[in-house]
Point group: C2
């Protein structure tokens, strides 16, 4: 890529970004768009424009607001997970900024004043850009100037260690603070028990769980809730909910028709067959009300039979203090590991009910199979795609399907098809990948939603780093690279070293594009806005439906974090090869931090509300160790690459870089032993903090009842308990 | 080795064995030897010859007795560790016996009727022994007969899985039974706390430990005992003990002199200088009594100052129930992992006091360094020895030290020296190795003696398997083998495959020798007997001294188990190559089991006493997972070897063996997840068993007071507590 097209590409991206920012500023001032930009504010029934008035909607207003919010505000508004994501962004930003402060003034002059790229007459050839002259490529082989580059690698590494250590400590304290608040959280009083052994014939599972835990925790056991197979009950429940929704929609339509045409209106009708297109035409309101009347007793029967007959071999056990629950969930209960396995309970809203009753051997098998599939996907994904594109070349198509000749021989169509067929295959695959990974992670038997997100995020990271970065850099699919590695294990470093510098410009453009276009879209929320307006215009009739249309998702950790990590890996690896990439990296994470903070923190400091994202679960920062490890992985790829590149420059002191790899491993291990246990388990110190109020144990218990099993009125909870519990429950001993 | 020398070697070994058995029978009938053969009986003040009378001392009498003792008897007499060692021997025996039952009748005819070793005229060359004709070497390349060998490998593998699974289950139950007995064991009420943070300036460590655990375990905390630096107090204590011992010895000598010469006797004297050889001559009795009088107040002062001023940052915390201690020791206490780390308390008698206060980073560093040293020792130990032997060749010596010429030129001496110099270096090194490994394991900072034994046993296993077996088989030091492996990773299987069959006779002789001579010596206890008689004749004067002279050690796990495991590895690897090794393996472990049981179980079934070995600690079978893993390692070496050997026979179906390696890994992993947690932690199920009596908490507490800090009278324990504890201790809440 020559310098002019590089500049063109940067300029184009910047223009797009500027336009999107202007669009955002303009659109967010229009009241009709409020649900897209301030959903949380509306969710809590507040008016987003009261308070400081319209002045704050200027292009810089939101920046000031983003800075104004403190971390405590973020935690209060969006939870610890959002705050941890901000810590991640600011840590990476700090790493890159501190690196840049030293690397730019040191390395640019060192590289720029050397002459490796000049030809024998001392002139720089025409096709060498200024960008390339300011990079490692311009330093002569074996030159003492390479010491500066070795120093730079050490500087970046130690900056990373320092920042990561501080951040881990910080997040660790955040988590401890969040876990030791005096609020009563149901999951802190509960423990998840799986692999309950088959009870003796005269006992139900519920009875055996009750008696087992009452015997082992006589003073602290409160009650147990056996997991039941709710598939059927849930189906009926969803049917009823669907009918209720239809009634609300029909009523709105009916009311509208009254005003528009005649005072009596038209009663809405629909057909009962497939998609409402075929079958008998019925009056919607009457039909649905009748259906609900039919289904309600059915649901009640099903609820009862589910509770008594469909007990599964898993349970939630509740304790009357946080410390007791924390201690119990960390203690081995049974002599045999495949019975009575206990773990901390996930949040009620994050529980994946269908995964709970899976047996330990089932879970292990599933995990092994999933890992295998992911490994094969990461390593060999190029093969099916190459195969598809090979089959779908036009020549092949013409031969095999002669009737296509007429179409294929059109010159324009031919060009387009030829250019895009393989890419389309690749794009479709890549678009489906996150969904596939979430599905695979769920199949492992993981009990909670937040854990699934972490698991699929990890898988996605490996995929994009190996394929986008290493795959592109080595200039071949990972499969052929692996072959080379097997033949010559130390060759990977040399290969990376020889290939990476050539691709500097490409990746610089990549980062810039991600920065301008990606963030522009993110900030302006153009896509959700369009979808929202379309839905409101043509589909939504009731308030609930409008609300559903602008319902915001969570941050989307599972693709967002790996993508950020890819940028980290890229910028780190090129930080010393071509230091000019650093400002782009810094800009990327600085803007990323601003936008995330803007979306995550409250709009006005005195209103305790969310901005755009509503968290669907709270894992108290369990994502951090995951991010931490992967930043270190990026650092180690970087260190190995530099070892190769400087070695290729015939610089015999390049082995001075080798200890860095060992230091990184030791650093990772030390952080892991020091901080990780407090993320995997609840320390007793934290769980023993005083509570604000005496916990209402029955509320805690009720929180874990699945929606489809909840009786219509909350007072009926006792009925639920009686149905499930046959032994008299012991009162908590406060 | 030809057949005649092989038979000679076997016969010689057998004769030695027979002689040793006869010696045992004769010697053990002589009352003077009783302390060597029945120390435990004497230790408990019983007469070994009462009961069934002398008839039981016939050569077969002890075999009958060994069979008569049940496992419960063994546990009662020698503890779970001894019983687990018997389970280990019987498991291996069962594996080899079941393998032999199928392999001998199947493989011997298959191999014996083939013709690979015949020359072109159809005759068997003279140098081929019958032994070699009955082995895999006689099967022709690519012959379908190799299917029988592949089947044999599968048979051995599945027999091993089956037996190991059963044994693990059995040992697991043994351990659970031992841990859930109703006896009060101090270690079950205690927890070891390390990495206590520096207390605030106005608090002692003891205070901060007390207040921390009282806050976290308000209902179950009994008391804490801070570890103190007892080096100085222990030195004074040992000095006093030494003087007491000297007085007893001198009194005995004095009494003897009275009878022998004159009624008034000679008062024994000694010199106070180095080794009693120089210095002033003093009256021993007076001098020692005076010294004790001097030292006793010094000890008391030192005890007091130790308790108050030499507190270390580690402590034992006592709970008032077993379940509470088990649960607490499994629960993470602090937010930071490097503070308040808790583990189960080791037995009082197994505690290594000096290791307790080591900080977590110190421990990790030490462990890393030790592992590195062991790795280097295992891999490179041949280098210094080769170097030494290179330097110490006689030619070299003559050149460098010309004055040795006179000695070295003697023809006889020259031959002897030339033959043995390198071996002497090797033997010295190998003799020192177990001690070195125990020392290294202790340096890791391991808190208990039993753990040190496990750790050094593991290291020794790697050493002997890699060096004796693989080293000898590959015909070079492991170092050059490793070089080959790095160059060509899959080559190791081929190398093993091509080298092993040639060494079959050597290893068969090795097993036979170990069997006859090793067990002969073990059974007859000739060496301890000679040492005992020498000591009694020339050194011992008092009863206590005689007792010390025949004091039996424990089983010596740290060298015994790895040596047994080496035999397992050998016999397994050759079981299919040369099935004739199997009977020797079976005989080895059958006799091993008999002798171990004989020594470990009580002599007469109705007397609950030990036979020869007195356990110095009880780890409730924690050695088993260690043995289990290493048997699987042996199995995997065997499977890889067979893959290589059958592959070298140009048999293309040899890859059918590859899945076995994966199956072994899965088996190991499954066993680990299923059984191991109950070995590493105490299940709550087990700890919640009822106790026989209300535990006396002060006895439990006193058990952990080191000998040198124990006041002279036991009633003074309260003083000890007051000195150590500044807060009023809370009474246990029974």
């Amino acid at each position: 890529m020559d310098i002019s097209s590089f500049v063109t590409s940067l300029l184009t991206s910047f223009v797009i970004f500027a336009v999107l920012v202007l669009v955002f500023t303009w659109l967010s001032r229009r009241p009709g768009n409020a649900p897209v930009y301030y959903p949380s504010v509306l969710l809590r029934g507040l008016d987003p424009w009261e308070g400081r008035g319209r002045g704050t909607r200027s292009p810089v207003g939101w920046i000031r607001q983003a800075f104004a919010a403190s971390e405590a505000d973020v935690v209060a508004a969006s939870g610890v997970d959002a705050a941890v994501y901000l810590v991640f962004l600011s840590s990476v930003l700090a790493i890159l900024a501190f690196s840049g402060i030293v690397l730019l003034p040191v390395l640019l002059p060192v590289a720029g004043t050397d002459h490796a790229l000049e030809d024998s007459t001392g002139r720089v050839p025409r096709n060498v850009t200024d960008f390339e002259r300011l990079a490692l490529g311009n330093v002569q082989d074996g030159s003492a100037r390479l010491w500066a580059f070795i120093f730079a690698v050490y500087w970046v590494s130690f900056v990373t260690y320092f920042i990561l250590w501080r951040s881990y400590k910080h997040v660790s304290n955040l988590r401890a603070a969040a876990r030791s608040t005096s609020d009563v959280k149901p999951e802190e009083f509960a423990m998840l028990v799986r692999d309950v052994p088959v009870p003796p014939p005269n006992q139900t599972i519920k009875d055996s769980v009750d008696s087992y835990f009452r015997a082992l925790h006589p003073d602290t056991f409160y009650k147990a809730m056996v997991v039941t197979d709710i598939t059927k009950a849930d189906k009926i429940f969803q049917e009823i909910e669907g009918h209720k929704h239809k009634i609300a929609h029909a009523e709105a339509v009916y009311a509208e028709s009254k005003i528009a045409n005649r005072p009596e209106g038209t009663r809405p009708t629909h057909r009962t067959g497939f998609l409402g297109l075929i079958g008998k035409k019925v009056d919607t309101l009457e039909y649905c009300n009748e259906k609900i009347k039919e289904l309600l007793p059915k649901l009640e029967d099903e609820q009862k039979s589910t509770l008594s007959e469909k007990q599964q071999r898993a349970a939630f056990v509740f304790f009357n203090s946080r410390a007791a629950a924390a201690s119990a969930s960390q203690t081995l209960h049974a002599q045999m590991f495949d019975e009575w396995t206990v773990t901390e309970a996930p949040e009620p809203r994050a529980v994946i009910w269908t995964n709970l009753p899976r047996k330990i051997y089932d879970r292990q098998t599933r995990q092994t199979v999933v890992y295998l599939i992911v490994f094969v996907t990461v390593v060999f994904y190029m093969i099916p795609i190459t195969a598809i594109s090979a089959v779908t070349t036009l020549e092949q198509l013409r031969k095999k399907l002669p009737f296509l000749k007429v179409v294929v021989d059109q010159p324009l169509l031919k060009t387009v098809l030829q250019a895009y067929l393989p890419q389309i295959a690749l794009i479709v695959f890549l678009a489906l990948l996150p969904t596939l990974l979430v599905f695979l992670s769920k199949s492992e038997g993981i009990p909670s939603q937040s854990h699934v997100v972490r698991a699929s995020s990890g898988k996605y990271f490996y995929f994009i780093v190996f394929n986008v970065f290493i795959g592109y850099a080595i200039g071949s699919s990972l499969f052929s690279a692996l072959q080379k590695v097997i033949e010559n294990p130390t060759g990977i470093v040399t290969t990376l070293g020889s290939r990476l510098p050539g691709n500097a410009t490409f990746f610089l453009t990549f980062v810039a594009l991600k920065f301008f276009v990606g963030y522009g879209l993110e900030l302006s929320r153009l896509v959700p806005l369009i979808i929202f307006h379309l839905k409101r215009k043509y589909l939504c009739k009731t308030e609930d439906e409008v609300r559903a249309a602008w319902a915001p998702g969570d941050l989307g950790y599972n693709t967002r974090v790996p993508n950020d990590l890819l940028i980290v890996t890229l910028v780190m690896c090129y930080s010393v090869i071509a230091p000019l990439i650093l400002p782009f990296g810094v800009a990327y994470f600085a803007l990323g931090w601003l936008i995330a903070k803007n979306q995550v923190s409250k709009i006005f400091i005195y209103e305790n509300v969310l901005r755009v994202y509503v968290p669907i679960y709270e894992s108290n920062g369990r994502m951090w160790p995951h991010m931490h490890t992967r930043i270190i992985a990026a650092l180690m790829i970087y260190q190995a690459t530099m070892l190769g590149i400087i070695g290729l420059k015939r610089f015999y002191y390049s082995t001075i870089l080798a200890p860095l790899l060992a230091i990184s491993l030791i650093f990772a291990y030390t952080c892991h032993t020091r901080f990780y246990p407090a993320f995997a388990k609840t320390p007793l110190e934290v769980a023993s903090q005083q509570l604000k109020e005496t916990p209402n144990m029955s509320t805690i218990y009720t929180a874990y009842i699945p929606a489809c099993l909840k009786p219509e009125k909350l007072e009926d909870v006792e009925v639920f308990e009686d149905a499930q519990s046959r032994t008299t429950s012991r009162a908590p001993s406060f």
